[in-house]
């Protein structure tokens, strides 16, 4: 299996529900396990549910540092942009993941951090789940891309394929999702960085059919009647 080759600052963007946060958390864990120093910042000021911060205790247990607003405001319906985030961008570690909010609205916050990004090189990756509204066609994905780029005043330079129907994902969905993002990559000229596969069906996938890196997703953001996969 091909290793995911990413370092420096990685900004994760995408439309609402594309799976940015799950991807960010799992990417962080994956790299941390391979010995890389990882930091993660939760920049999702718009959506108050299913944010990276919900996994903060699991992540800190395995030594991943997370930039968040002060504890007392974590459940607040307040768009608090912690000054810590700018610091984290200015002084990145081996892998610094910035999990932005959904759509162009969530990405707007990135524009206010332009000073911190100045002179830095970074990856800005668009997460695509072709099984979500607005990103079921190449055209839709490209529209989303340009809207996010306009709001963030930054340029997307890679994509992450995250085809899934959560618990109802079949291997067929993974294969066709892979074909879709490959096509998207060709048409847009954007690098396909990796695709994701849930650990639940990972063993059913014929990995030889996939030539890009694959990130195994151990689901963290679950409703309360389900248990998140334990991270070790």
């Amino acid at each position: 299996m091909v290793e995911i080759n990413l370092q420096g600052i990685v900004v994760i963007v995408g439309n609402y529900g594309s799976g940015k946060t799950e991807v960010s958390i799992n990417l962080a864990v994956n790299k941390k396990r391979s010995g890389v120093e990882v930091q993660i910042a939760d920049l999702d000021l718009v959506n108050p549910y299913f944010r990276t911060r919900e996994a903060r205790s699991q992540l800190s247990e395995i030594g991943i540092n997370m930039a968040l607003p002060p504890e007392e405001y974590l459940q607040a319906d307040l768009p608090i942009l912690s000054p810590v985030v700018a610091g984290l961008i200015k002084n990145p570690v081996e892998l610094t993941i910035i999990d932005a909010g959904g759509d162009d609205a969530g990405a707007t916050v990135l524009a206010s951090l332009a000073d911190a990004f100045k002179g830095k090189s970074f990856h800005m990756l668009q997460v695509v789940n072709p099984l979500r509204p607005f990103t079921q066609t190449v055209k839709g994905c490209l529209k989303m891309r340009s809207e996010i780029e306009t709001a963030a005043k930054m340029t997307i330079n890679g994509i992450i394929g995250n085809a899934n129907l959560i618990d109802e994902t079949s291997p067929e969905d993974i294969y066709s999702g892979y074909e879709f993002v490959k096509l998207l990559s060709q048409e847009s000229g954007l690098d396909l960085k990796f695709i994701t596969v849930s650990s639940q069906i990972f063993h059913e996938i014929d990995i030889s059919r996939i030539s890009c890196p694959v990130l195994k997703i151990e689901r963290q953001l679950v409703p309360p009647w389900k248990k998140a996969v334990e991270l070790k």
Partner: protein
Amino acid sequence: MGKVLMKGNEAIGEAAIRAGCLNYFAYPITPQSEVAEYLSRRMPEVGGVFLQGESEVAVSYMIFGAAAAGARVFTTSSSPGISLMSEGVSYITAAQCPAVFVNIMRGGPGLGGILPSQADYLQATKGIGHGGCRLLVMAPAGVQEAVEMVMMAFPLAEKYRNPVIILGDGLIGQMMEPVEFPDSLGSEPSNKDDWATTGMDTRKSTKRNLVRSLFLDPKQLNENNLVLKAKYERMKEEEIRYEKYNTDSDYKVLIVSYGTMSRVCKTAIDQLKEEGLEVGLIRPQTLFPFPEIAVRKTAEKDSCKAVISIEMSMGQMVEDVQMSIQGKLPVSWYGKCGGDIPTPEEVIDAVKGLNV
């Protein structure tokens, strides 16, 4: 001062003044506008505050602001107006401020009509505001009792630091009966230094008071709710009030009824007695907390074969009656809800229709 003849609405206004409440904010709505009209004359006489707000929504927050500043304060309205105030009621309850609301109910839903009704029972007892807030709900059956309940309401609101609502119907607001006012009460909540925003200077304190209802930490919010719940439980222990009528007899039917409707039922019970059918009545004076145990025990008499809830609504209190009876006897409902108060004859027919 002896008896005076007063309209329910005027008497409610006067009772508040006698209860030491010199602050009134309101918005006109039939059939309770006479409270505002009366107090617009009386408040200046006693050096009190009278203000007609721009809407019921605004009024509920004027009440909140004044209550949070430690003043004894009240408002009156009618059904649609109370709906508009329900947002403020929820905030006041969450912030644990004392205040008194009076709802002189009219027919609904929607704009409904202006005639008497008891269609806000469920709103008052179970859904007065978002977030699961509860008010102590008292229901008078006449002008004298309305006066007494208004005068009790202020100390109770302060005892619990929770709003109290008086649920009257349009008839109680509009009819005149002789009333005698109990002794006047002192004027301000006695425990206010602990919580009211009176300005630190007035308390000679460096500790500031904060009146709020936002609790971002789920644990804190749960704790605040536990405090509220404990108050509701204490109300159940200490504040339940009810009256019984003809329950010394071997009644075959027990009527549960409140407010104006209960008076019609009393007349019907007198007439049925003459015809040889004994019927008992239990009249909840507090609707929340509901006299659940008293209703059940009163229905447990051997002679009693059926229970009927008679209301000027399409059957709201009957749900509490059913819960109280716990399936031990058949519980039925009779009522009307258009402003047409059922007559004693109609009540008699409803009771006879039970075939006990």
